[in-house]
Amino acid sequence: MSLYFLKRTALLIPLLLGITFITFSLVKALPGDPVFSLAGERSSPEIIAKIREEIGADKGILRQYAGYVGLLLKGEMGRSYFTNRNVADDLVEKFPNTARLALTAMLISAPLGILLGFAAAVGRPSTDRLISVITVSGISMPVFWSGLLLMLIFSLRLNLLPPSGTGGVQYLLLPAVTLALPALSAIVRVTRISVAELLSAQFIRTSRAKGLSEFRIYAVHILRNSLIPVVTVIGLELGSYLNGAVLTETIFGWDGIGRYAMEGIMKRDYPVIMGCIIAGTAVFVVINLIVDLVYHIIDPRMRLHGADR
């Protein structure tokens, strides 16, 4: 058990090296001097000199990469071209907002997705078809468009919720629903397949033969077992919220990392863009790690056949 945890966590090291190598290549490929891409054009000469030295701008490419990783390890992601603020500080400041949005979206999509997936699997074919229409639409509508439609209906026409801004629940609701839609579809699909597979499983037939009530069979035996793959997809979707956040936060003026990235893109503020990509990927990788570990804990079969037994 713990050996698996160690092994899985150790895999992070080559992965992070690879990821930073790709972001480093992107920084090198940016137009202009890579030192400026990191330091920001308005930085004081001392900071530029410091970064130039730490990254080893005049040395070989491997030395530069090592310098780049060193800077990242120190939490140095450069300065914004325009505000001259430390990108890492900005990211730390805005992260809680994005996390709040993502978690709210998950609170909407996970229970609803499981419910709909369950209904699609055990319900009549017409129910199944209706739900599949919802799921296909959910993954096919661009979030920036569904978000705008929600804003048009609920804020501009019905005046129920504020159209944009950062704040309490009333500000949170529309962007969270927007972000929840594609994830909802993924969760419904996986739940549906998982439940449908269980319906014909041997142990369900056994429970029926034992005379368990239908409620008990569905609520305990099927639901519990079907949730194992669903937990994985919930985790993965939580990570992929970072993709949707750039567009959703922009639409709703939500002051998180996504909008910060968008502002960086608009102004071609390279340190900001790269900082957002690195932060987003780091969160994505950590969530994937947690998903793998949780999967290992909740599925007894994994424990039994785990590498260390």
């Binding site: 992965l15 048009l152 893109i265």
Partner: protein, 270 residues
């Protein structure tokens, strides 16, 4: 093929034809500014209305579809080609080559895909080809992963063994025997992924990283009209419907192709 699959294919065919022949079909010049008819609601003169510069939205959608569909299909083709190449080599040669190639695939898949596409787009000058490169650079990895799994399985099959026994060269086995067997799976993957590519293209255009003004894409039309959503909702509504319908059709087509493939015995589980 299921009815939904046929229907989707028919709609997609119409979208592609309409985009291809947009110069002939469009009633107006898509970029012609007409300040006498700004933000007109849909009418018999302008069936989808006009935008804030008086440009005909229907004409812009037809022309924009050209870029949006062309970019997504080209990206799908590039992903298929790279994915097939890497998948074949990785799956058939195996060993260290396989470990290295799959490590690269894993690396790309460990990025949030849209963020990586943004990163690649910003280093190149914005435009149609940049979007194709950004989508393909991220998208080929999942193709390679699935095709490699399939090649792995085919490698051990009897007909490959027979070919080997007949003295076929490695290249011949790979290209003449294994490659054709991978084509259906690759096409199904393309069907499943192109819907997502449509959305990625729209998202990048929305962020201003795609084709540059004045030429329209569906994503950039929404981006430039979103401040008028209250006074002229049709400017945002119709491009979004086009993106959604096209993506829905690709997804449904992909699903029904996958069902067909699954029933023929090849599994797409990855």
């Amino acid at each position: 093929m299921a009815l939904t699959g046929r229907l989707s294919a028919a709609v997609l065919f119409m979208v592609i034809i309409a985009s291809l022949f947009s110069p002939l079909l469009a009633p107006y010049d898509p970029d012609a500014i007409d300040l006498d008819s700004i933000k007109e609601p849909p009418s018999s003169r302008h069936i989808m209305g006009t935008d804030n510069k008086g440009r005909d939205i229907f004409s812009r959608i037809l022309h924009g579809g050209r870029i949006s569909v062309f970019v997504s299909l080209t990206a799908a083709f590039v992903c298929m080609t790279i994915g097939l190449g890497v998948g074949l080599v990785s799956g058939y040669i195996g060993g260290k080559t396989d470990i290295f190639l799959m490590a690269v695939v894993d690396l790309i898949l460990s990025f949030p895909s849209f963020l990586l596409a943004i990163g690649i787009s910003v280093i190149l000058s914005p435009g149609v080809y940049t979007v194709i490169i950004a989508i393909s650079a991220v998208g080929w990895a999942s193709f390679a992963r699935v095709i490699r799994g399939n090649v792995f399985m085919l490698r051990e099959s009897l007909f490959v063994e027979a070919a080997r026994a007949l003295g076929c060269s490695r290249a011949r086995i790979l290209l003449m025997h294994i490659l054709p067997q991978c084509i259906p799976l690759t096409l199904v993957m393309a069907g499943l992924k192109t819907g997502g590519f449509i959305l990625t293209e729209a998202g990048l255009s929305f962020l201003g990283l795609g084709s540059q003004p004045p030429s329209a894409t569906w994503g950039s039309m929404i981006s430039s009209s979103r401040i008028f959503i209250s006074s002229a909702p049709w400017t945002v509504l119709f491009p979004g419907i086009m993106i959604s319908v096209t993506a829905i059709c690709f997804n449904l087509l992909g699903d029904s192709l996958r069902d067909k493939l699954d029933s023929s015995g090849t599994s797409l589980s990855h």
